[in-house]
């Protein structure tokens, strides 16, 4: 199950952060996201010497904690997408697919002429679309 997703701008400013848990652990999840930003920086500045995968937007598993797995994605425009999940065996293809949909939703949201670049995304349509994508992810990994 996905417990938290986040979009972070190129100056590490939060653009969108949403947790999907019942409990009161939003702060803890935000902390997990915050920690992952350093890992993203590290990945980007010291790329592994794996030829074709170089500069790919999908960064893969950033780090596992006891309860969570954190995945990252970095766009050409230096916007970071972070995914925190409690599933321990997640298929890489599923995560890629999730980030692709997530990115498409983000692009549509920022293409709104009333959106100010660099400000938080407050669109309700966007929030609904994200929660649909998040729910669909749970189903595809279970089945």
């Amino acid at each position: 199950m996905i417990v938290c997703v986040a979009i972070v701008g190129h100056q590490n400013n939060p653009l969108y952060i949403q947790s999907f848990t019942e409990g009161d652990d939003a702060l803890k999840l935000h902390h997990v996201v915050h920690c992952s930003l350093d890992v993203v920086d590290e990945r980007v500045n010291n790329p592994k010497k794996s030829g074709p995968m170089l500069n790919e937007t999908y960064l893969g598993l950033l780090y596992p904690t006891e309860n969570y797995k954190v995945y990252g994605y970095l766009t050409n425009t230096k916007v970071k997408f972070i995914l925190v999940t409690t599933d321990l065996d997640v298929k890489d293809a599923d995560v890629r697919n999730f980030f692709r949909k997530f990115h498409a939703a983000y692009v549509d949201a920022v293409s709104n002429p009333f959106h100010v670049p660099g400000k938080k995304i407050t669109s309700k349509t966007f929030a609904e679309r994200i929660s649909t994508i998040v729910k669909a992810f749970g189903l595809s990994s279970a089945g």
């Binding site: 190129h10 170089l54 500069n55 790919e56 937007t57 970095l74 766009t75 050409n76 425009t77 230096k78 990115h103 498409a104 983000y106 692009v107 920022v110 293409s111 002429p113 670049p117």
Partner: protein
């Protein structure tokens, strides 16, 4: 799924935008009008670059980003690529389009009455034409700065309908 836009509508909209800004909103302040039009282009370029770079790996250097502008970005907007790219390898790039779509219907020949009324009719005509180039300049600048390359873009109409854009990357 890509959505399509009528080409003639876009062209009419652009011409109308330029004329509104130049003749109505900022009739006596051409420089301000130019800045406003450029800013609109900037926002458009900013948003388009986000969309068009979605499915590709990140660029490793400036040249790759400029090449992206010349090839994929230009084909998405104008259905053709930039015809010639020159660079001095010190941060200046010249993008030449031999048949720039947004200028292809324009004529720089000044009308007879314009020449009679003012000796600098030719100047006015080319000035009016250059107002139409602030928008595409803004698009390029917006796209590049969203890709992390701050730059200044200017346009040059040497012989119609060819048009070249000069990009100077700020160090």
């Amino acid at each position: 799924m890509g959505r399509e836009v009528s080409e003639s509508c876009v062209e009419s909209l652009l011409i109308e935008m330029v004329s509104s800004y130049c003749n109505r909103f900022y009739a006596d302040k051409q420089e301000l009008a130019a800045r406003r039009i450029e800013a609109i282009g900037y926002q458009v370029g900013h948003q388009l670059s986000e969309r068009y770079t979605m499915e590709r790996p990140r660029f490793s250097d400036h040249l790759e980003a400029i090449k992206f502008i010349c090839k994929d970005f230009w084909s998405e907007i104008f259905k053709k690529q930039i015809d010639n790219l020159k660079t001095n390898h010190r941060g200046t790039f010249v993008l030449q389009d031999n048949h720039f779509r947004w200028l292809s219907r324009m004529s720089i020949e000044s009308s007879p009455e314009m020449v009679v009324s003012s000796p600098d009719g030719e100047d006015k005509a080319s000035q009016a034409m250059s107002m139409h180039l602030y928008f595409p300049c803004g698009i390029i600048r917006g796209a590049l700065s969203n890709l992390g390359i701050p730059c200044a873009v200017s346009a040059d109409i040497s012989s119609l309908p060819a048009c070249s854009f000069v990009i100077r990357i700020k160090a």
